[in-house]
């Protein structure tokens, strides 16, 4: 029991944590807020300065260059010229179809593989799941190099064919075509879909699958009606990531040596490095950036509406 004469403990004056200490409590409110804002700006200045120096300024230079004619005037004419060129339209078409095709391929293959790894118990499934993480750190050219070893004109597959038939050359010669690029991109980017899918599947209550099965649902129905709907946000995230990455992929296209496959990044490279046409290169680069940012924004809007 507290003694009747005991005095109530006094409450401490709250410290102004936003401004760093009790001394701030002596300052008038508006002045205190103004000082706090100034401090916040001072803290933000170094990262903003670094960002501006290494990213925003070069980006601004690229955009500025894209609006600069050969005569040094600022104009939208370079865009008209680039948009009118067949090379640009072909590159745009190739880029889009390769990116969309690769994304669809990655989504289908990634979903199938992730479903097997997550739900079909087999020896080594955990090791496979861990390998996916390691795979994500591989450089893209490594995959292309591996495919060259297997499917290249002098690769293993053709070697087996020539050994078996005595023919001078094997029938497999697709790696330097758009289909070769597609195969390489699907191979390389599929783990980028699998990773978020495996994370989503680890959250899925397996009791749902068991109950569905006891209710009479066969495995395909369970995949279609239980697993797939719950995987949609992860599929959306993985798919958007792959789409943006394949739109900008340069290494795989270059490494396959596919001369007839010109994507927007390859066009930037050829305009800038091979033709020294920096203005055209900058126009293509800006278009490439606009497509990437646009698609990413679209994904964000759609996923927010879907509640993902």
């Amino acid at each position: 029991m507290a003694d009747a004469t005991t005095t109530e403990p006094r409450l401490r004056q709250p410290r102004d944590t936003a401004t760093g200490g009790s001394w701030a409590g002596k300052m008038p409110g508006a002045k205190r807020r103004g000082r706090g804002r100034t401090q916040a700006w001072l803290w933000a200045l170094p990262p903003v300065a670094v960002l501006a120096l290494v990213f925003l300024y070069p980006l601004a230079l690229v955009i500025q260059q894209s609006f600069t004619t050969d005569m040094g005037e600022t104009s939208a004419e370079p865009y008209s010229e680039v948009f009118a060129s067949q090379a640009f339209r072909d590159a745009l078409g190739t880029t889009v179809w390769l990116a969309v095709g690769s994304t669809i391929g990655c989504l289908v293959l990634g979903f199938v593989l992730a479903t097997i790894v997550a739900f079909v118990p087999f020896p080594g499934s955990r090791a496979v799941a861990k390998f996916i993480d390691v795979f994500l750190s591989f450089p893209s050219f490594l995959i292309t190099l591996a495919l060259l070893f297997i499917y290249g004109t002098v690769g293993m597959a053709n070697g087996i064919w020539t050994d078996a038939t005595g023919a001078s050359a094997g029938p497999i010669d697709f790696l330097t075509t758009p289909w070769g690029v597609l195969l390489a991109e699907v191979t390389f980017f599929t783990p980028f879909v699998m990773r978020p899918l495996l994370a989503a599947f680890s959250q899925l209550d397996t009791a749902q699958l068991e109950v569905a099965s006891s209710l009479g649902a066969r495995p395909l129905r369970i995949i279609r009606q239980i697993i797939l709907p719950e995987a949609l946000p992860a599929l959306g995230a993985g798919g958007a990531l792959v789409l943006v990455m394949t739109l900008n992929e340069f290494g795989i296209v270059l490494f396959t040596g596919a001369k007839d496959v010109t994507t927007l990044p390859m066009l930037v490279y050829s305009k800038a490095i091979l033709e020294s046409d920096y203005t055209a290169a900058c126009v293509v680069a800006v278009v490439n950036i606009a497509i990437s940012v646009g698609l990413y924004s679209l994904y964000r809007v759609v996923s927010r509406r879907a509640g993902a």
Binding site: Q208, S214, A217
Partner: protein, 364 residues
């Protein structure tokens, strides 16, 4: 939940009354045996509770019926059908689990219709059967809601409706009330009992570690421990005439006293005790429920010092040391309770004192 009357369209299993039969079912993971030679029969229309602590093998037994574990040996029958090798989707069982396992992206009505669509029920019938299952569980007003918009108790009712909608041969309930708070659990227990009265031909296998649920709901209780069936009988049999010390202590509280046996009676510290049960051999274990032990003189009186005293509102729990053993009496609240160390007398009636069978043999 209201108590709607069954209609002709109700999802009843009555036309196909089937029981469950385990014949020497064993399940092992590597060298670890999680279910050891289970022989058990659930009669058509019977509620059988599998009662036991964690790791006793009760859930494994249920999963063997559902088809989610494959027995290393033995057979599982649903009715006359050997389902041991059948995949889960061909067994025709309804299943309700602890965490409801509702499909979160489907509305309540779609959850309940899922099994009917999976079993390719005629389209014209699905709506009626879904409505009837929801009406039986009192969830008809929530058909258009998503699971996330429901409370735990409501979600569990939807899970039950989903299981009943397919008109299963047997219903498997795996700790269905464990995720609910005490008040909701009591309400759901009453609802499950009412549901079974409406569906008297539905066989139910009910897995629980809660003796109150088992005693309240089950026609018979199978007590399991360490992967084995330890006892099986009606709740009254298990409570009043347990076959093993484990059953006696797991199904309700019990005083288990080591006693000597001679001349058709037991004795403790030289005091002759009139008891019921298997009064043979030279020694045994006497089971007396605390609430059947009285304070003061009476039949089978034993004297000892008070070693524990708990006030429980309407009752007192008095623990008395008798010849090195403890006897606990649960008596109505005492106006003048004894103090610790006081000498008191406890007593119990002969018919309330059950001498456990030698070796704890299973009842037949």
């Amino acid at each position: 939940m209201s108590a709607p009357a069954m209609t002709a369209a109700a999802p009843a299993a009555g036309t196909r009354a089937s029981g469950i039969r385990f014949e020497g079912v064993s399940v092992a993971y590597g060298d670890t045996v999680v279910l050891d030679s289970l022989d058990l029969t659930v009669e058509p229309g019977e509620v059988m509770a599998l009662l036991g602590p964690s790791g006793s093998g009760k859930t494994t037994a249920l999963r063997a019926v559902a088809g989610f574990v494959t027995p290393a040996s033995g057979r599982v029958f649903i009715g006359d059908r050997d389902v041991t090798g059948l995949p889960p989707y061909k067994r025709g069982v309804g299943m309700v689990v602890q965490q409801y396992a509702l499909f979160p992206h489907m509305k309540v009505e779609d959850n309940v219709a899922f099994g009917l669509k999976a079993q390719k029920a005629p389209r014209g019938e699905i709506g009626g059967r879904v409505a009837e299952a929801l009406r039986m569980t009192g969830m008809d007003a929530y058909a258009g809601r998503y699971p996330r918009e429901l409370s735990g108790g409501q979600q569990q009712r939807v899970a039950i409706a989903r299981a009943l909608a397919i008109q299963p041969d047997v219903l498997l309930l795996d700790e269905p009330l464990s995720a609910l708070d005490a008040q909701l659990r009591a309400g759901m227990l009453a609802e499950l009992a009412r549901l079974h009265r409406e569906l008297p031909d539905l066989s139910i296998l009910y897995v629980t570690h809660d003796q109150v649920e088992a005693l309240t709901l089950a026609d018979r209780i199978a007590v399991m421990d360490k992967a084995r069936l330890r006892d099986c009988g009606t709740p009254q049999e298990l409570y009043r005439r347990p076959a093993t010390e484990f059953t006696a202590s797991f199904v309700g509280n019990a005083n288990l006293l080591r006693v000597a046996v001679a001349d058709g009676a037991a004795s403790l510290d030289g005091t002759r005790l009139e008891v019921s049960g298997d009064v043979t051999g030279t020694e045994g274990t006497l089971c007396v429920r605390p609430h059947l032990v009285g304070l003061g003189d009476g039949p089978n009186a034993l004297r000892g010092a008070v070693t524990g005293l708990q006030w429980r509102g309407s009752s007192h729990r008095v623990t008395v040391a008798v010849a090195g053993q403890e006897v606990t009496a649960e008596v109505r609240e005492l106006r003048t309770p004894p103090g610790l160390g006081d000498e008191v007398t406890v007593h119990f009636a002969a018919e309330d004192a059950h001498l456990l069978p030698q070796g704890g043999a299973l009842r037949g």
